[in-house]
C-alpha cells in the first residue's frame, strides 16, 4: 500500500511540552535541597513521584466520568471509547501509585503493606472497582449495550473515589499525612517541596493524557477497520 509522499509526521506541540516539562521537573526533584525530616530522609523526594500518580489517576478517572456522562447524553460511541481509554490509563497510574507506595512504606513504616492503614486498603478497593469496569465491558458483545452499561457503571465507580480516597481516610487514624482531618500539607511537609510537587502533578497528568490519546486513536482505528471489514 502506498504511503502518501512520506511526509514527516509531527506530534502535537503540547506533547513536546509535556516531554520537556517532565524532564525538568524530574531533574529538579533530584537536585533541589530538601530538609532532612527524621525517618523520611531523602525519600521526601518521593512526594514528587508517588503522589502525582494518584492525582493523575483521579484526574483521568474524572475525565472518564465526563465522557461517560456525555455518552449517555448524546449516544455517540466515540464518547464510550474515550471513557474506556481514560479509565485504562487511570488504572495504570493507580497501579504505579500502589507499587511506589509499597516501596516507600517498606523503608519508612517498615512494611510493604499494612492493613491498619485505611488509605492503602481503600485505594486498593478503588482499583478493584475500576478493574470490574473492564470485566463488565467484556461481558457484552453488542457495542451499544456495552457502552450504555459501562457508562452507568463508570458513574458509580467514579462516585466512590471521593469517599474512598478523601473522606473516609481523613476520619481515621493513618500514617499518611492528611489523616485525622488534617490537610495533607502540614508542618511535616516542607513548603519548598510544593514548588516541585505541583508542577510534577501537571506534568504527569499531561503524560497520562498523552497515553490516553494514543490508546484512543488506536481503539478508534481498530473500530473503524472492524466496521469496514463487515
Amino acid at each position: 500500500m502506498q504511503v502518501s509522499a512520506q511526509q514527516k509526521i509531527k506530534l502535537s506541540p503540547w506533547k513536546y511540552a509535556v516531554a520537556v516539562w517532565l524532564t525538568v521537573v524530574i531533574s529538579a526533584g533530584f537536585l533541589i535541597d530538601i530538609p532532612m525530616i527524621p525517618i523520611l530522609l531523602e525519600t521526601s523526594r518521593n512526594l514528587f513521584l508517588h503522589v502525582p500518580m494518584w492525582f493523575t489517576m483521579i484526574a483521568i478517572f474524572f475525565a472518564g466520568l465526563v465522557y461517560s456522562i456525555r455518552y449517555l447524553s448524546n449516544g455517540r460511541l466515540d464518547m464510550d471509547i474515550h471513557a474506556e481509554t481514560a479509565t485504562a490509563v487511570g488504572i495504570v497510574f493507580g497501579i504505579c501509585g500502589l507499587l511506589t507506595g509499597a516501596m516507600w512504606a517498606r523503608f519508612t513504616w517498615g512494611s510493604w503493606w499494612t492493613f491498619a492503614e485505611p488509605k492503602l486498603n481503600l485505594s486498593a478497593m478503588a482499583m478493584m472497582i475500576y478493574v470490574a469496569y473492564f470485566v463488565l465491558r467484556s461481558a457484552f458483545d453488542d457495542p451499544e449495550k456495552r457502552a450504555k452499561v459501562a457508562a452507568v457503571y463508570n458513574i458509580f465507580a467514579a462516585s466512590t473515589i471521593p469517599f474512598l480516597l478523601f473522606i473516609i481516610p481523613r476520619q481515621l487514624p493513618s500514617l499518611h499525612p492528611g489523616a485525622d482531618g488534617n490537610p495533607a500539607f502540614s508542618d511535616l511537609t516542607a513548603p519548598e517541596l510544593r514548588w516541585i510537587f505541583y508542577p510534577a502533578v501537571i506534568g504527569f497528568i499531561g503524560l497520562g493524557w498523552w497515553m490516553k490519546d494514543i490508546l484512543y486513536r488506536y481503539k478508534k482505528l481498530q473500530q473503524k477497520l472492524e466496521t469496514e471489514s463487515v
Binding site: 500500500m1 502506498q2 504511503v3 502518501s4 509526521i9 506530534l11 506533547k15 516531554a19 517532565l22 524532564t23 524530574i26 531533574s27 533530584f30 537536585l31 531523602e42 498523552w210 497515553m211 490519546d213 494514543i214 486513536r217 488506536y218 482505528l221 473503524k224 477497520l225
Partner: protein, 82 residues
C-alpha cells in the same frame, strides 16, 4: 571430571581471582575529568538522577515512536478511504 568445570565457573564468578578478592569498591577516587567529579559528588545523587533520566528518555523515545506509528496508520486509513 568436574574440577575443570568448577574452576571455570569460579573464574567467571570472580571468586578465585585474587584481583577480585581484595576489591574494596570505589572510595574517594579523584577523577581527572571535572564532569566525572561532579557525578561523584553529593553522595552520588547525580548517579540516581542519571539513571532516572536514562529510563525516562527511553520511555519518552518509545511513546513518541508509538504516537508516530499510530499517526501513520491513521493517515494510511484516510488515504485508502478517499
Amino acid at each position: 571430571m568436574l574440577q575443570p568445570l568448577i574452576t571455570l565457573l569460579l573464574f567467571f564468578l570472580g571468586a578465585s581471582d585474587p584481583q577480585f578478592e581484595d576489591w574494596e569498591g570505589m572510595e574517594e577516587v579523584e577523577y581527572s575529568s571535572s564532569f566525572m567529579q561532579l557525578l561523584a559528588s553529593n553522595d552520588l545523587i547525580f548517579v540516581v538522577l542519571g539513571v532516572s533520566l536514562l529510563i525516562w528518555f527511553t520511555l519518552l523515545f518509545f511513546i513518541v515512536r508509538l504516537d508516530r506509528k499510530v499517526s501513520q496508520l491513521e493517515r494510511q486509513n484516510r488515504d485508502q478511504n478517499s
